[in-house]
Symmetry: C2
Subunit: 500 residues, 2 copies
Amino acid sequence: MHKEPNIQKEMGFYLEQRKKILAMHYVDFVIGWDTQTDAAENSILANSEQAAVISEMSYNLTTDPEYERAVGVLYEHRDELDSVLRHEIEVVYKNIADTKKIPVEEYMAYSELSAKAYPMYVRAKNENDFELFRPYLEKIVEFCRKQTVWLATDTVKGYDVLLDMYEPHYNQAKYDKFFNVLRKKLVPFVKKMTANPTEVPEWTKQTFAKEKQREFCEYLRDVMCFDKSRGIMKESEHPFTSGFGTEDVRITNHYYEDSLVSAIFSAIHETGHATYERQCDPTLNGTFCSGGASLGLHESQSRFYENIIGRSRAFWQVHFGKLQQVFAPQLDNVTLDDFVAYINRVEASFIRTEADELTYPLHIMLRYEIEQKVIAGELEVKDLPKYWNRKFTEYFGITPPTDTLGVLQDVHWAYGNFGYFPTYALGSAIAAQLYHYMSKDFDVEASLKTKTTKKINAWLKDHIHKYGASKYPDEILRLATGEDFNPDYYVEYLINKYSK
Amino acid sequence: MHKEPNIQKEMGFYLEQRKKILAMHYVDFVIGWDTQTDAAENSILANSEQAAVISEMSYNLTTDPEYERAVGVLYEHRDELDSVLRHEIEVVYKNIADTKKIPVEEYMAYSELSAKAYPMYVRAKNENDFELFRPYLEKIVEFCRKQTVWLATDTVKGYDVLLDMYEPHYNQAKYDKFFNVLRKKLVPFVKKMTANPTEVPEWTKQTFAKEKQREFCEYLRDVMCFDKSRGIMKESEHPFTSGFGTEDVRITNHYYEDSLVSAIFSAIHETGHATYERQCDPTLNGTFCSGGASLGLHESQSRFYENIIGRSRAFWQVHFGKLQQVFAPQLDNVTLDDFVAYINRVEASFIRTEADELTYPLHIMLRYEIEQKVIAGELEVKDLPKYWNRKFTEYFGITPPTDTLGVLQDVHWAYGNFGYFPTYALGSAIAAQLYHYMSKDFDVEASLKTKTTKKINAWLKDHIHKYGASKYPDEILRLATGEDFNPDYYVEYLINKYSK
């Protein structure tokens, strides 16, 4: 009995502090968006000191002893909390324990480094000069390796520490098993499919005006029922989604005038992510439980829309006319079948984000294996370009002619996101599992005849999105499908689709 | 002797706190930029709570008792500080005193209101519906009136409180005197000049593609030697400049396809502001003394470039060819003389920002008189549209057909910037004073033959920009010209130019 007023007081403090921390999340959200879109190269470098001070302010909020004490008291009494707050407190409690393990000077120095690394990565990629980026990447790797030591527990060590950060409850044992299934069942199939690639059709070798691409991508956002008064689509080096709660969810795209479909699938992919964020239960706003439950689950949504819906014949049956109209007369002599065949064309290629659905997981396997070695200290940053090209040749039978088309293609390592890539393959596999169960509830292809993804959005909202981050991703998957993650649906889906 | 370690300690605290406060200025800078460019309408409304929390955090930093004590000690010992820090401490000391006079709940409520008022203002303007904006403006006016009470001193009262905020050491007595000079000498001249306006030439009534306008404006930024790796030019409802220190200085523009020159002069104007920010002494970064010394002095720079340089024959003599080239063949039959006559055409018109150099000060007089009445409580917000139209008709002989072309045209009141407008007229007048003295040092027109404004930039840097905000604006003007503000140069310049 005597404890109750104490909990009330600690709860009051917790809720006040949460407001401030969320405000700093909002600051990070806006500054992150700015850094990747509007801020000029030299401005970012000059303002990295501000970024460091802001990080320190956030760090001080989350490591405030009073806050820690409040979280500790609430954690002890977690059985008395409602299920959302209980989950939040469990996650925050773990985060505080983890944060305390990182020395504050290291954290600040790393924040400052991060602000400088991104523009330098962009330059290195544009100029095909790995050496420009190398010193930054070396420091990032050094920090990530240290993280695996600082954050190790009895059961989670080494690279597993990083994997668990991006996908809770996943580790090398599980990923190795997953990739082994793919290796065994998919690799031979992929080898057969890529042995004799079809020619790239002539009609794709035109110039497709940026403005028209943008117009069609805005049309696709409408098809996907995205509320544009709650988030714009802009341009950046690498397409991404960035959101704060359910009410401000933005995406970027990148238009290549020599590619008709690159921006189209980026738009569908990112709007998939954005739909997840938008469809969280709005009562989760103002808590730490809004937004996606994990990267893997997030990626399952973007992949679901991009591949299972966006590359289906049923989807283009209703939208190809509009595409022809926007790009008239460029596509006048192209048929629906030509187009669907093209967007599902299989071929070994250099760029992960441009890879077809079938070869995509091989790109992830490559990165997973490299990261394992880098974090274990078995591979150094200076040797990355060579190692990448050697392994790539082994898996794909072709050698990247430049680092821009090789080791420099992805932005993730510039952000220090080691452990992130495997969630992409996991996402594709979960998407297939969801598709299996969605198809039991209604005819997914037939629903596309309405010209929107309304019914699909509603199913995903009800089975995945509404939970936000109020549960762990494996728990949500079990609630949605009644079983644990099962990669068999993925292999089955791919072999079935590409055997046709 | 015993005081010295104390000063050292307080100085140390002050410098640490200044870093945090500057980081929050950076946050304001980025969030402000985002709100006015990328953030979607409904997102802004939804996130106004974050804005309020961030304001409170800033407020807590500047009202922290330890900080106040440190500033107090440094203020006592200001004679021992170098001149820049001394000026900074004097200004900070005054700001703290002023901030303490504003009740924290009022300050927070106002911050939240501000975040909501801007998108609603944009809607009201777009839909020509003053009533949408009215309730917000009423609250803003209420706050501004309260400010004049909270911040009143023995010598500064009423509207003077607001005027002094934007232009230190200026008040109604001085502005009344300035506007009286204009009224006496300029108004009869303007009446004569606008009596029989020339026809708008036919060649201006074409559609000028947005992309080409943007291209030419980017060319002008190069002409003005602006380093684009330190700030982009973007689009927004109302053109503005926003900078943080010397290393991140951005502008926006607004392209109207039915106007060839609107965006051109906005680009020159905003790049003028941006040049001021960029040319401050970089050692002032990381202090509160970077950036312009006052709005009036800032405006003198933008007006200098826009009107004195940008509307001169000498400028277009070297750049009109490029303009013709970008818009070819639209301007093929237009001569340099046609163009220069057009950009210096005089006519009574509705929109301040589109007004010619000669009628411009009348637009400011109107706003100055209205603000005087509103702040004095002699005019209420609900009566503004009617009053505006009546007064406008009296001064210009024409009546705004819509509020969009009348009382809703300016964004300033949506930001609560009462007392701001008079600095525009002051700026134009200071520009003429500077031009007088610059012309004594070198042949300004001849220097334009180099196709850049390099020599002009250098003179302004050396006479105005380098000081940043390390001195009061009247002090800088005396250093630059050897005399106090003198509106006679302005009248002389205008009558001389337009008599030709």
